[in-house]
Symmetry: C2
Subunit: 516 residues, 2 copies
């Protein structure tokens, strides 16, 4: 891939700058790397056993690919295809041959080249909540999302440095027509942020629109996209074992332009997959591998991501549960499997709480730790997800950002050196003394420790005098301050004009044809 | 040690029993083992470097042991002692020789032998909050603790199976005289629970009282204590580098009876130790090793625990901070050092929040994950700690219990087998079908997944109709229900009579002499 680093000369969005704008101190924008070894909970032979089970499912039970073009491609590459039932069976050798051509690491290019991101190996990336129809905040409660909410969430993703990719729709704009909504979303992503964002892969045309607009914003042609991919998307399998027509259209459109899809089965144990975690993970693996092998048939070496989304349901109510012991195990084993196949891995920060409360927080904390330990390369829904994905929460957005910042700092290597030990300061403080004034302390006190975004460490009396605000109330103040002080990243006026012309034309086309 | 398992024939306190009593489902009482390898963040040469720095501190700077008897013992074993300044310097060989006699693993015996616990290797034990002068709950707010609160907290530790040791005073009984308070606490620990509890090691006499009462409760003589130790305590170093007179008296009294002390320096980086984590951890190691070596001089092979309590202060206010990136690193490295010395390790579930809110929850979640990954053998303050230790929270107690249960279940090995994969259920559900009714599901649905203590997985509408209760509000209902349904563990009336006679006599003695 060509080096685009030299291109951008726009101001960078770093911590100190943001601080000046909003008075809120945060970590600088960064590409996080996890220096610790991944946490392996399965023995190698157990990983092989899940792999063998997945291959057995692909060979004996197969997946339904509900798209004739996809079926033809699969057949031409040697899969056993039944066009009447859409059934596709693949033998082990066929699957392994194709997944072997996936890249282990790739780069995604943002319109601001300083926001390019690496996906794979030990890189970690964070995208905000995506998909919910509802939004909630302390002021206005829970309600259907609007375009205004959607724009605010894009702005927040831009303001908060820890969110290093813009992701997909953080809330649905329920006040806009469904068939042209994606165009407004793409425009907001480009105007209000400068990071990598997601195409919407329901059908071919929504992907084509994303590519056209992404090209306009970056000043490149669609033929250059494969060399410097600038979009990604999530392709969900309709578990168990079905890939639907529109998802396959979107997937083929992405792949043909060399753009990565995150292939994510939705294997809720007990509902959409076997009730046992081993069964759910074998099915998740089978579904992901089948679609990833198909991607490589469409375009060998196209970047693609192994997505995991295994959790369990509450067997009394059928409600999905998240951040549970089962979810933690699923994330960790998913990562181990992705490494076994040498594929980049996507996981998520999830919870099932209806309130930005302690439950939302501990379920998310459990998820985030599992994601870090599993070496997930993309943590989707990293900030703001609630209610098992039915609601975006403005306050949860900030709570999650604090957790992610804490994790990123905690995973930075500890410096161990003679100078760090500070023997002089131990002598200077003396037995029973204190270290506040030692030279070693004075040299370092400004930057020695992590400065929190949300945590309040005042003593009880001071905290009470300053309003006895809970973390959720403080989070409410923080997102408002970030939005009040939001500054749009620079963009050429000509880009906006060209983009708006494209969108106007496409909206007209869609209104006339009724086709997205 | 003799096998005491055969002795007890009292009913066990398991999950189902508790459920019958309170309607609240929880995991059974258990001795948790961590099957995963410990998480190592330092390279072996970095561990050796911290070890070398600790030895350098012990040899060049030394510790003050403010107790003449202790100084004599140290001198007689070859330490360089100055009786005027209480300064003790030890060379590396002396320290290593003595810490080599510490057991890697030992058992503590409860009055109910089914509640015996193992300390060391990969065993994990949980004790409740200890030490705070204040208590808070949603009904009555924050207030100084009373004896009634203290008893309630002992009862809660008994009710909640995940808390497998009773610990020390979960809140101070501020309404009782300071010099006899420990006797009332010990009585409450014995009457209201049947697990292992802590002696209070401020001075010799409080330890002796604990031993006498523990012996009465267990029907043994003090001379049998060393063979079947039934108490433990925490010995704090007054960091930097001072061990005070009363702590040393308590420590010697414990050690002479073969009872384990958890030696815990309080190395807040920037205040009581160097501002760098490497410096704070070197000092923590030096302080802990000096006292542990002293324990082995007093009684070779006496069980003892390496305690870690390294965090940082907010350099703007001087307030201690907990659950921070620095705390996580400190816990992980502390564990690595304890393993290097082959010593059991103690860490803590901590936070600095003033409210049982999202901050309390994420700071605690960060702490708990670090504790598990570091293979801490005792997690102190595992439930109910708040405000950096100044307040016990009834609601936080339940929030923490849910987090601990989740972690314990998450760390249980995943079952991987042909039967678990459930190939039949995949065929039975069919492509795009669901698994709720498959035979594989029906056989397992009652016990397949973790049942939460606190989490509410209802959808938003149902949650709202049932009162829109936050996790903290639900936690309030849970602790009340547990206390309402509390049932005291059986105890012989003769034990109570003998115990009360001892306490009556001791209170009189203390009133007359004014000596504790």
């Amino acid at each position: 891939m060509r080096n685009r680093k030299k291109r951008g000369n726009r101001p960078s969005r770093t911590g100190p700058e943001t601080k000046e704008a909003s008075g809120i101190q945060q970590l600088p924008w960064q590409q996080v790397q996890n220096p610790c070894p991944p946490f392996e909970t399965l023995a190698p032979e157990q990983v092989e056993s899940i792999d063998a089970a997945a291959m057995k499912i692909l060979e004996n039970t197969g997946l339904r690919f509900q798209n004739d073009e996809a079926l033809s491609i699969l057949e031409s590459h040697g899969a056993e295809v039944n066009f009447d039932t859409c059934m596709v069976k693949m033998d082990e050798n066929l699957v392994r041959k194709h997944i072997a051509t996936c890249p282990e690491l790739f780069t995604l290019h943002a319109r601001n080249p300083r926001r390019d991101v690496k996906i794979g190996r030990n890189y970690i990336n964070f995208t905000p909540v995506s998909g919910p129809p509802n939004i909630s905040d302390l002021d206005r409660g829970r309600r259907p999302g609007t375009y205004e909410d959607q724009c605010n969430l894009v702005k927040l993703a831009h303001c908060l440095n820890i969110v290093n990719m813009s992701g997909a729709s953080s809330v649905e704009a329920m006040d806009l027509p469904a068939d042209t909504r994606h165009l407004d979303l793409y425009r907001a992503q480009i105007i209000f942020g400068d990071q990598v964002w997601n195409a919407r892969a329901i059908g071919r045309q929504r992907v084509e629109d994303a590519i056209q607009l992404n090209c306009i914003a970056r000043g490149i042609g669609p033929e250059q996209m494969a060399d410097a991919p600038g979009l990604l998307t999530v392709i969900n399998v309709n578990s168990p074992l079905v890939v639907d027509k529109e998802m396959l259209e979107g997937l083929m459109a992405m792949t043909r332009h060399g753009l990565p899809c995150i292939v994510t089965p939705f294997t809720l144990a007990g509902a959409m997959s076997p009730i046992t975690l081993a069964g759910a993970l074998a099915q998740q693996t089978a579904e992901a591998l089948a679609v990833i092998a198909f991607v490589q048939m469409v375009r060998p070496h196209c970047p693609v991501v192994f997505g995991g989304f295994t959790s369990n349901v509450d067997m009394r109510s059928g409600s999905p549960a998240f951040g549970t012991p089962e979810y933690i195990k699923g994330v960790l084993v998913g990562g181990q499997l992705a490494r076994y196949y040498k594929l980049p891995y996507r996981s998520s920060n999830v919870n099932a709480s209806n309130d930005a409360d302690a439950q939302a927080t501990y379920e998310s904390a459990m998820s985030v730790w599992a994601c870090f330990l599993s070496h997930a390369n993309i943590i989707n829904h990293a900030v703001g997800w609630m209610e098992g994905g039915l609601c975006a929460s403005m306050e949860k957005y900030i709570i999650d950002a604090e957790m992610l910042q804490t994790m990123v700092e905690a995973f930075k290597p500890l410096r161990v050196s003679e100078e760090e030990f500070g023997f002089d300061s131990i002598r200077e403080a003396g037995h029973g003394g204190h270290f506040f004034g030692t030279a070693h302390t004075m040299e370092r006190y400004k930057t020695a420790f992590y400065t929190p975004l949300l945590s309040d460490w005042q003593n009880f009396e001071n905290w009470q005098q300053s309003g006895a605000k809970s973390a959720t109330v403080r989070a409410n103040e923080i997102w408002k301050s970030l939005l009040e002080n939001y500054q749009a990243p620079p963009i050429d006026q000509a880009v906006i004009v060209q983009m708006d012309e494209y969108i106007r034309h496409r909206k007209e086309e869609i209104r006339q044809d009724g086709i997205v």
